[in-house]
């Protein structure tokens, strides 16, 4: 359970985000194990206020191959609706499959695809 890809914008206190993402993995696992059927459902891990001091929302998404996508957004940016999050996840998933299509990519390697990066950056810019 190691991250294949992590990007954070704009505030670069990445460590916090990393930590958040890591802790949220537990929640995602919990949800996976709970739902015995269709695991491909886009899951939302809407945490609301995780801690009293930090307010950000963590969304999760799991693919068929148990690849988890976690998006952490600032709660102040409440303009983000559920649909937007879903579309973001869909884009992420598509980009990820494109990365996977690359025969030179070994599953489990950190993702170094520039196209993937560009897509993620574009997404984040759009959000922030």
């Amino acid at each position: 359970n190691y991250p294949l890809y992590i990007r954070s914008i704009p505030t670069e206190n990445e460590l916090k985000f990393h930590y958040t993402v890591h802790t949220s993995l537990d929640v995602v696992e919990e949800k996976i194990s709970a739902v015995g059927k269709a695991l491909v459902d886009q899951r939302e891990l809407y945490l609301g206020l995780l801690y009293p001091t930090e307010d950000y929302k963590v969304y999760g998404y799991v693919t068929n191959s148990k690849v988890k996508f976690v998006i952490v957004v600032d709660s102040s940016n409440t303009a983000l609706r559920d649909n937007e999050i879903r579309s973001m996840f869909r884009k992420l998933h598509n980009s990820y499959t494109d990365v996977m299509c690359n025969p030179f990519y070994n599953p489990g390697d950190p993702i170094q695809s520039k196209a993937f990066d560009n897509m993620v950056s574009a997404m984040m810019v759009q959000v922030c």
Partner: protein, 730 residues
Amino acid sequence: MEQGPGTVSGGGFISLSENEQRCYSDLYTLCQADSSGKLAASKVGELFRASQLPADTLHQVTELCGAKRLGYFGTGQFYVALKLLAAAQSGFPVRLESIKSEMPLPRFVGMKNDAEVLRYPNHSQNTESQGYQLGKPPMTVARPSLDRDALKRTESLGDKQETRSPPPSPLRSPPNSPSSSSNQDRPLSYSYGKEWSSTEQLTGGETRHPAASEMSSYESKHLSRPLLQQEVSSPSNYGSKSSLTHSSVTRALSVERSAEEGSADYHDDPWRITEEQRDYYTMQFKSLQPDLNSLISGSVAKNFFTKSKLSIPELSHIWELSDVDCDGALTLLEFSAAFHLIVARKNGYSLPEKLPQTLQPGFLQRDAVSPKTKRDGTFLGSYSELVPSNQQQKEPAYSEWEVISELPRTPEPLIVFEDDSRTAPQETNTVESIQLPLSDKSTPKQEPRIDNSMSAFSPKRNPAFKDTSAEHTPLENTPAAKTDPPPELEHQVKSRTRQRSYSSTSIDDAMKKVEEPPAPPPRPQKTHSRASSLDLNKIFQQSSQGFKGGWLPPPAIPPRPLAAQILHFVSSTETTSAQKSVQKINFADFSKFSEEEENAAKNDAQGQLGKAAGSSEESSPLKDILPAQRPQKPSRRKCRPESQNLDSQETTLPLPPPSSSAPGTKPHLPVQKQSSRQKRAIQTAIRKNKEANAVLARLNSELQQQLKDAHLDRIALETQLEQLRPVSYL
């Protein structure tokens, strides 16, 4: 400026137009000529780099202008170099002849030069052809001296028509010689013929129009105009078709369009796939997947591209760029694009962020259709309607591949695949990989061959290659011993070449070498470990060619007792009549040894082999064998074969089982055999000691480094102590 500096050492007189002179003098001052007339190499290098030509071209330019010979850039060399740069940028071969004709000013991007029009010249494909032609810059054209001033402007559009007729130029014959591959011969020679004929006619034309007044009107566009005119007039290295299409198109366009448009077509050239390249890619595709219409799966493509020895992230990136439909498989077009990207990357081009427009499947699809029709057409007018701008870009790049076939002859190291592939399998592959690229050649040579095989494009890694080639040489020479089965490898190579009939030999070679599995590593050890003196003979003779510096000095001590023994034996057997036969043998073997004998004799006269030293010169050869190895490494290699000869001759003699003692009573032969065996033992010991020596030397250097660091630390601490001391006193 003066005409003097324009003189080329190659024996031609290069005159500069006033505009050129102005520019060149500006550039000259820019390059900070010092009092002696030499230019600051750094500035010159900067200027050259600003010309945006590949490093290979720059090297050629430097060579041609004589700077390399002189070691610096004098005024003359500088001017010639500038002219060559201009030639290169306008698509001329970098040769002395090409700068005889009028040239546009070289363009330098990033240099503060007002006279230049800073454009984006990236005539990379020209450089390959230039590199090809650079291989032999003969003065094939007995060109009349031209009125240069008139040339530039008065190459009016009207003059160009007559150049297109295909005159059989007698000048073609020398240029024909370098062309090796049969495919290239015709187009190349023809292009040459066209070039010279066209330029000649042009020059004839210009003499007819010496009116400089027309020039002044074009002054503003002179830079662009000559470019076009040059393109038109001298379709030098391009295939004949391209030249024609070029000229016709540019002729038609030059009136209306600016030169930027014309030159802009060149800009995409690194990313354009030429006909030949396309064919090559198609053949590769077929080799992977017989059906041209279907896809190459990802894993197959991965294996194939991995052979190119690019890093995985780069390959991954290339894949992403080329697999536009993201289906995990490559169509022919995608495959071609990917292959092209790999090739470009190998040549030093950095990968683009997104797929260049010329590599996209839609574009490639379009191009795949039209060039084939173009090919069959004739020259003169038939193309003018056919030719879209991109086609003429295809053809110029065609030369790139022609060059590839030519370059094996040139000493310019330019390899693509082989560069990297040589580094990696160098330790393992050795001769096979080295010999593979030269599959077309029948004779396996060592280094020159490798250099020759370094054909292909004009990589910026030319300097890098030179470095690696320096590293390679010692490596190569250790595996030089593995030339033992050169015929066998040749056979393999030839069989492989037979399997593929590509027009581009270097790429073939590159790919073949790329696909060659690593040769069994033990091969060198095999040859070394073999006790047969004959093998060692061959090895040493072969390795002695370039490997001088690689051998470590053998430890002095071990051979001495042995040598002493041998000499003892020898001296003891001096009295025997058989010794004379040995002497004779020795003389026969060591006849070339006389100089080494003297040297070694001087060295060892005071050696512990004193008693042998007192002996006659019969023993000295034997003595010289071993100690001479120590003082003189080059002579050692001769010594060894000699000793091997001695051994072999000794072994040929019927030898009773020798005993390691009792010298005097034994006949001469067991002594010889024993000495030969001892020599062999000595040699193995020498080898081992050399290795140990290398290890110890490395260790030594590391320890010394540590010692230095410790010293520095100590000094630092002492200074700190000094600083603190007064404080404590207070």
